[in-house]
């Protein structure tokens, strides 16, 4: 294999094309997810404030949070662990294929995290830096960046439910954090409580999801395991 002609970034970018985006929108219910995200956005306390200047600031704040979520979710849908059949037919041994899959997963996760970090920097510029909100949003984004989509048929109902629960908790805690970011809510106690609760719920959830991802990638190394079963 002429490895110099291939790169993880190139493989990642390959999937960002109209054909695959259309397919994802049809199959993975991306518009439905985006709808839910927007609904969470609308429910955000900060955006409802009336003052025009504050409203623009809150709108930009919401955008800096919601846009990365939408982009990363689309990316997660576009980059499933299992690959196209041709990938299993190309000259590569099993270990190399598995290594590429791990690297591709990590590469996608790091790209997602970069997108989220850009959003967090915009948040800090707009609203000032507050370490607890930053920590909460960063941890949330970190977990979400390294998530892969669960498939009920492949992963079982339990994991699919776990995945939906994790995404819901992620969206809810992110949304609840926004009023603290914009300054609409000041209570230190509430923020501490939110931070502790979010970590207490999300950490074990993410640990379970990581185990699922590990199994998925391990299975995806073999065509039979990834596609047939």
């Amino acid at each position: 294999m002429k490895d110099k002609n291939r790169s993880l970034i190139k493989e990642y970018v390959m999937k960002w094309n109209l054909h695959d985006i259309k397919r994802v929108c049809q199959v993975n219910g991306f518009p439905a997810f985006l709808g839910i995200v927007m609904l969470f956005g609308l429910l955000s306390g900060g955006v409802s404030r009336a003052d025009e200047e504050v409203f623009v600031n809150d709108f930009l704040t919401g955008l800096a949070v919601l846009l990365p979520i939408g982009l990363v979710w689309l990316s997660i849908c576009l980059h499933p662990v299992k690959r196209e059949k041709m990938y299993y037919l190309c000259p590569m041994d099993h270990d190399t294929r598995l290594r590429w899959m791990w690297q591709a997963y990590l590469c996608a996760g790091l790209i997602h995290l970069t997108v989220f970090l850009a959003g967090l920097i915009i948040l800090a510029v707009l609203n000032g830096f507050e370490w607890r909100t930053f920590l909460l949003l960063f941890c949330n984004d970190l977990f979400f960046s390294f998530t892969v989509q669960a498939d009920e048929k492949e992963d079982g109902f339990g994991y699919s439910l776990l995945f939906v629960f994790f995404v819901s908790v992620y969206l809810l805690t992110t949304d609840m954090c926004l009023p603290f970011v914009t300054g609409a809510e000041h209570s230190d106690t509430l923020l501490n409580l939110l931070l502790i609760t979010a970590m207490a719920v999300e950490l074990p959830l993410f640990w379970k999801i990581l185990q699922m991802i590990r199994r998925k990638i391990q299975n995806a190394g073999m065509y039979e395991e990834a596609v047939v079963k």
């Binding site: 002429k2 002609n5 196209e84 000259p91 039979e224």
Partner: protein
């Protein structure tokens, strides 16, 4: 040489059973059988996409578990489904997937595409089914493999291209050092060109031999029913009685003699398929 040694594989309710085949190098091997007989499953075993539950698949003496990369460097593939990236142009596809193959030659790919009246700048997803298969065939040839595996591409080709396809296939095996396995329902072409035949029925390789041996082993006998029945019952594979006379597939041997009034002919693969189904 392609070898399957007592290979069995369960795939849900379907099972490939105890398949032993040796396809010598330089042969065009036809893979025939009705729908669901196991042709594609057998091809997937040869391609290493399915791993056997028992038995061994060897390509040039190598097994996928130990030499997957080396084996795949030697194989070209044309499957009935879309293998290349739909959003990429044919040339981009060639460059991307070709980067995996040591033998890939872009000039050869472009030349083949032009020969098949395909524009290298066209997106793969915009092609018709037949054009996609032509492109995959061109790509497979451009990788200069030693083994070519083709899963039912012929049905999607126009008659004009069929000629070109078989000419290229014959040229591919022409030097006697390369082998092609072609799964198809178009058995006339196999009758004409194949050197080796694998006939699958319900997950078993009923026939796995060179065409000469296949033709020597069976006869189609037509004539009056009672005269056919005079043959030993164990040689009659299947007898089909009609209003005026009968027709039978018979296991032939040199010791077998036929009544002079019976019409005895070599079977075609289509005849064989007809009687075996």
């Amino acid at each position: 040489m392609l070898e399957l040694d007592h290979v069995s594989k369960r795939l849900g309710s379907f099972q490939l059973r105890n398949i032993t085949i040796q396809i010598p190098t330089g042969y065009l091997c036809g893979l025939a059988g009705e729908n669901g007989a196991g042709k594609t499953s057998l091809l997937y075993m040869l391609l290493g996409l399915y791993r056997p539950d028992s038995g061994t698949v060897r390509i040039d003496g190598k097994i996928y578990e130990e030499n997957e990369k080396e084996i795949r460097q030697q194989t070209g593939i044309v499957l009935a489904e879309d293998l290349l990236h739909p959003a990429f142009s044919l040339l981009q596809n060639g460059r991307y997937y070709g980067s995996f193959y040591n033998g890939y030659e872009e000039a050869c790919f472009v030349e083949k595409l032009k020969q098949y009246h395909l524009d290298p700048r066209e997106k793969f997803g915009h092609l018709s089914k037949g054009q996609k298969l032509k492109c995959q065939f061109a790509f497979a040839l451009a990788c200069h493999p030693a083994y070519l595996f083709l899963d039912e591409p012929v049905a999607n080709f126009d008659p004009e291209f069929k000629k070109q396809f078989f000419a290229d296939l014959c040229a591919f095996i022409g030097d006697g050092e390369r082998t092609a396995v072609l799964s198809t329902h178009e058995t006339e072409d196999l009758d004409r060109l194949a050197d080796y035949l694998i006939f699958m029925k319900e997950g078993e390789a009923v026939i796995a031999s060179d065409m000469e041996k296949f033709r020597d082993s069976y006869r189609i006998v037509s004539g009056e029913s009672y005269k056919i029945r005079l043959l030993r019952p164990d040689v009659i594979v299947k007898l089909e009685e009609r209003e005026f006379g009968a027709r039978a597939l018979v296991r032939h041997s040199r010791l077998l003699s036929y009544d002079k009034s019976l019409l005895v002919a070599y079977p075609t693969i289509a005849d064989f398929m007809y009687f075996m189904s």
